[in-house]
Subunit: 246 residues, 2 copies
């Protein structure tokens, strides 16, 4: 892990850009934290739109996490930002756009082609990044995962034992195979669903919530469309992490 | 309104029993509140099991409400506790028990017979009680409704303009007619659903949530069965009232 730049946000938060091999990322830690008092970590998931596009929303979530006593970190997803595209993903995105333009349902084949390779590539990268984050002074477990892509969060929750709580954003297409992975998830889950999300299947989100094997799972459904998550819903997710990671 | 007894809970809460005509009820107010600083009111809904049976849970909810800076009040439902039964309700309960024993679905006719007369009788009583509560020194609007029977809460939210926010417990059968009333509800709603409620239709709860006309509506689904609402879910409902009634 190689730090490439740093800046302060609001005096309280140290934001550092890094590269991990060829993967860029961002790390936020309490500016005043002594290495002797390490803080738990929240991994900030996000849609594959590139860190530059997502930066304002990620920085806001990171500020909240640090204010609540956590470190926060994220990495660029494979095929996003300046990272190399791969042909099959470009084709899947084109097929999705075409299906949406035609106004028809999006087929399982398109959803699988769109999401499964991304999950297969992203999850090992998140795990490698987690090794690096936890090797830094000032950061300790337990670790939470927060946000989308929900299929990435589900796979991580199922396979990565250092992640002990997850707040998942049910705002993207879910391949059938991910419902099976969901049954194997047993950590506490907090699932956020925008009830009137124009670009998401509400029924798929409810079915996935039902499938989760966790004894403690909570669904928070709100109005406001895909990007209109209310402030109080963000606050509730923050309270979830405070309950489980502190 | 005639107060019949009073006691202190934890030094901080004044609990008074009253009768309003032939309807018994309970009122909880801050023990130290001066009449010059009136507090908003939360009406505590409950299932038709009688105030004596429900007392421990009602008192716990009332303590929370008073700790948050509210008054709380409840009344005995028609046909519950020591209030006179009516034959049709007894018949509907017998029909429900028989349908559940037979393991079959509960027909719309049974649900209508069970719930609609209760709503028709209870809602005017709640409104009369509200007149009396708001005439007391130390209590002011706005008013919230909290809990079940959800069909009573929906009717009240639709017709009673002094109720400006409602936290509804989706834990009882819902007649078809109530979905139509739900469309006319426009106040902020916080709906609590026990996802694994063994005695409730999850799909009916989701359909009713979808029907509500409110621009701000939130669904919180949790595990734990009908009576196992987690503490943090109660805390979230309390935060909802603090956001809307203060």
């Amino acid at each position: 892990m190689h730090f490439t730049s740093e800046q302060r946000l609001d005096d309280d938060v140290l934001e550092r850009a890094f590269t991990l091999g060829d993967i860029p990322g961002l790390l936020w830690t309490p500016a005043a934290a002594p290495a002797s008092a390490p803080v738990p970590l929240i991994l900030l998931g996000h849609p594959p739109l590139g860190l530059r596009t997502m930066y304002p929303r990620l920085a806001a979530r990171a500020r909240q996490a640090v204010a609540d006593g956590f470190a926060a970190a994220t990495i660029e997803l494979p095929g996003s930002g300046d990272r190399p595209r791969w042909a099959a993903a470009e084709q899947a995105r084109a097929d999705l756009r075409e299906a949406l333009r035609a106004g028809g349902p999006v087929s399982e084949e398109i959803v699988d082609a769109l999401v499964l390779p991304l999950v297969d590539k992203a999850v090992p990268e998140w795990r490698t990044a987690l090794d690096a984050f936890l090797a830094l002074p000032g950061i300790c477990g337990p670790v939470g995962y927060s946000g989308g892509v929900i299929s990435i969060g589900v796979r991580l929750a199922a396979v990565e034992p250092r992640i002990t709580a997850a707040a998942l954003f049910a705002g993207s297409f879910v391949p059938r195979a991910v419902f099976e992975e969901g049954r194997r998830v047993t950590i506490p889950l907090h699932v956020l669903l925008q009830w009137d999300d124009e670009s998401n299947s509400r029924q798929a989100a409810l079915d996935l919530f039902d499938a989760f094997g966790s004894k403690e799972k909570t669904l928070h459904a709100n109005m406001g469309g895909h990007t209109g998550v209310p402030q109080y819903a963000g606050d509730a997710a923050a309270q979830f992490f405070t309950r489980h990671l502190k």
